[in-house]
């Protein structure tokens, strides 16, 4: 495979594509809402009327508005329909012919769409994730070619560093710095791992990327491997994501067949193979050292750092671990240059971030927004507030490691530092909206129960602390707690933060502390009568 052949595939693909197309979202959300039945009816109808050659019915990745599926879009007009039922097939074909159509349309002028800035999700909803030709037709694998033939590994790392890209898994570590550390660490072999163990309940950005544009992640991983000097990559993906696994398997096989993964990529000396490792349901495996243990076939228990995986990771070799979304940013940076990327976002947080907007919100789905947008713009303008108009009380970011941000602080810009300053974290991108009917003590208890179940049991602060905190929160919920228990809760939270081995235990108190800080009255309302004298 060389650049000429790549261009030829793209040209052939575009030339043979019918002008009229009906594209349906084939991601998990829309499939669960009946997208495949809609597709069958459309295909049946076109076959009956002999138009199956003239009109193409194609699967595409996630279109974002997951709460309103199945979503169908027609080209060339670009009109997008929501809640499509199999019986709507005739109407949609009529719309393609320019006739009136009564199927509900997505309002694409709504802030939900207009406020988005698509970098990672730029191909989502445009290409068929099962076809590498579709990806090549939108310019895929050009960045990898460019990197291998026109840049040195050091130049690639410099470009990523200058772009200001930071880890999208939640902690926000500068990606360029991580790559540079792995590149300069000595080791007979090096590894690149894509962390697709998206365990935060309420987050599904990574699933959507893998289901919609798997080659984007593979290309990003290959560029990273070239930069750090690795020849073997792993994608560690949740067992709960069967569709993502299936599409990745298909994508890897296609890329190998085209000589875009494997030995001598683009007829160069660069080799890179990628294997999938399927997780087995352990939240703690999102932590990098636990994830490595799991790939090595062991219990997913973290170990103290340093040494960091960048120096001693998989089988003791220097290992680069980045999140799905981080890898998915790489080709855009190579394509458009680091200056372009760093012009987006805030001073310290560059580029865009994808959020999964869920909970008590009218427009549920995935949004990709530039860093620095305020929570108010996301929740009120893009999300459209709560479905029944009940006032929004708080938004939870960062899952079990994050916190609840009250509506009074919705002017907070979304960037790593600002979210940390209000007691939450950017996290991987879950954003759960809560209204006045949501009890914050219940929310804190919910997360603590989660952390208790998911604690790996290795270090005592986390293993015992989560159980004790859950007991105290349950006692509180049953109105059996005293005011002194609140003090104990706070003390134990501090202790866990300071002394736990890994991020799970260190951040497990966050949901409790943030709700205690902003919604203390809800805790105090649950304290029994004698508790009034306690503090």
């Amino acid at each position: 495979m060389d650049l000429h052949e790549l261009e030829a595939i793209a040209e052939r693909e575009l030339a043979q594509r019918p002008r009229l197309r009906i594209l349906y979202c084939s991601a998990t959300g829309c499939q669960a809402s009946g997208a495949l039945e809609v597709k069958r009816r459309l295909e049946g109808l076109l076959a009956e009327t002999g138009r199956q050659v003239e009109i193409d019915v194609g699967a595409v990745g996630c279109l974002g508005l997951c709460g309103r599926g199945p979503i169908v879009r027609i080209e060339p007009s670009g009109a997008t329909f929501e809640h499509v039922k199999p019986d709507d097939a005739g109407e949609i074909v009529a719309a393609l012919d320019g006739h009136a159509c009564h199927v509900a349309r997505c309002d694409q002028d709504h802030p939900f769409f207009t406020r988005q800035l698509l970098i990672v999700r730029r191909h989502c909803g445009l290409i068929n994730p099962d076809r590498i030709e579709d990806y090549i037709a939108v310019g895929g694998y050009r960045s990898l070619y460019h990197v291998i033939h026109e840049m040195t590994p050091a130049e690639v790392i410099q470009a990523i560093t200058r772009s200001g890209l930071r880890g999208r898994g939640g902690a926000g570590y500068p990606t360029g710095l991580k790559w540079a550390t792995v590149a300069k660490s000595p080791g007979e072999r090096k590894f690149v791992i894509c962390n697709a163990d998206e365990g935060d309940p309420g987050a599904f950005m990574d699933r959507s990327i893998l289901e919609s544009d798997p080659h984007l992640v593979l290309e990003g991983m290959a560029i990273a491997a070239y930069a750090v000097g690795a020849e073997q990559g792993f994608i560690y993906v949740r067992g709960e994501y069967p569709l993502a696994i299936e599409r990745l398997q298909k994508a890897i096989a296609q890329a190998r067949r085209h000589g875009l993964l494997g030995a001598q990529i683009f007829e160069s000396g660069f080799n890179f193979r990628v294997d999938i490792r399927v997780g087995a349901g352990a939240f703690v495996c999102g932590e990098e050292t636990a994830l490595i243990a799991s790939i090595e076939g062991r219990r997913g228990q973290p170990r103290p750092r340093p040494p960091y995986p960048a120096e001693s990771g998989l089988w003791g070799m220097p290992t680069l671990i980045n999140n799905v979304e981080t890898f998915a940013n790489v080709t855009a940076i190579i394509e458009n240059g680091p200056e372009w990327y760093s012009s987006i976002g805030t001073e310290k947080s560059k580029g865009t971030k994808i959020f999964a907007l869920t909970g008590k919100i009218r427009n549920t789905g995935l949004i990709e927004v530039p860093m620095g947008i305020t929570l108010r713009e996301i929740v009120e303008e893009m999300g459209g507030g709560t479905p029944d108009g009940t006032p929004v009380k708080a938004v939870q970011t960062g899952g079990p490691s994050g916190g609840c941000i009250p509506a009074s602080l919705f002017h907070t810009p979304v960037d790593y530092e600002s979210l940390a300053a209000v007691g939450s974290i950017m996290g991987s991108g879950g954003m759960v909206v809560m209204d006045e009917h949501t009890n914050m003590v219940d929310v804190a208890r919910f997360y603590m129960e989660f952390c208790k179940d998911e604690s790996c049991g290795k270090c005592i602060p986390c293993r015992v602390g989560t159980v004790q905190l859950l007991n105290m929160l349950t006692k509180l919920r049953n109105r059996q707690a005293h005011a002194s228990d609140l003090v104990k809760i706070e003390e134990l939270c501090e202790l866990m933060r300071e002394t736990s081995l890994c991020g799970l235990g260190q951040s497990a108190p966050n949901p409790v502390l943030s709700t205690l800080h902003y919604f203390r009255h809800e805790y105090e309302e649950l304290i029994g009568a004698e508790g009034d004298h306690g503090s």
Partner: protein, 173 residues
């Protein structure tokens, strides 16, 4: 779970065994060259083939991969995905992720427990039905979500799920 698809063909006939499933499992282990690192992949395959991991199966895997049984048992019990007891013929998994929780999944689960007489995480006495929970299905846009025999049900409500479960259990009676 790598992309190789020819493993069973290559191994077929080489190892006479009565049970086809055993052969497939052996092929999987062979593909990973019987390396202990592949334990989780092998257990995935074993559970896919047998439905759950019996003590005999675990010790068999330990022997073939030359691992101490304690390590195999330790891994099998660490991960939620692996089940050491047989599950019901039909399953309903209710998602208890945050988005589903905020939209009433806990109440839904309680109602299903009452309706089916099966506690969450358990199987009915006749082995026909398991009621399970999941941390997050990643289908938050459809909250509350559930999976009935592998099919994701979005915006799940009590009557819809009850009807589906009844239909599944009733059809074979």
């Amino acid at each position: 779970m790598t992309t190789s698809t020819t493993e069973t063909a290559a191994d077929r006939g080489a190892r006479p065994a009565g049970d086809n499933r055993r052969k497939i499992l052996e092929a999987t282990m062979k593909r990973f060259q019987y390396q202990g690192d592949a334990l989780i992949e092998v257990l995935h395959k074993a559970q896919e083939l047998y439905g759950f991991l019996s003590p005999e199966l675990l010790s068999d895997v330990a022997q073939r991969l030359r691992l101490p049984p304690s390590r195999v048992y330790g891994v099998a019990t660490f991960y939620h995905f692996f089940s050491l007891a047989p599950q019901g013929e039909h399953t309903c998994t209710v998602c208890l992720g945050t988005a589903c929780y905020v939209r009433g999944a806990a109440l839904l689960l309680r109602e299903l427990e009452e309706l089916s007489g099966v506690k969450a995480g358990h199987t009915s006495a006749d082995g026909r039905f398991s009621l399970l929970t999941a941390r997050c299905l990643g289908a938050c846009g459809l909250a509350p979500a559930a999976v009935v025999d592998g099919e994701v049900v979005g915006h799940a409500d009590r009557s819809d799920l009850a009807a589906r479960i009844q239909a599944l259990l009733g059809r074979e009676r």
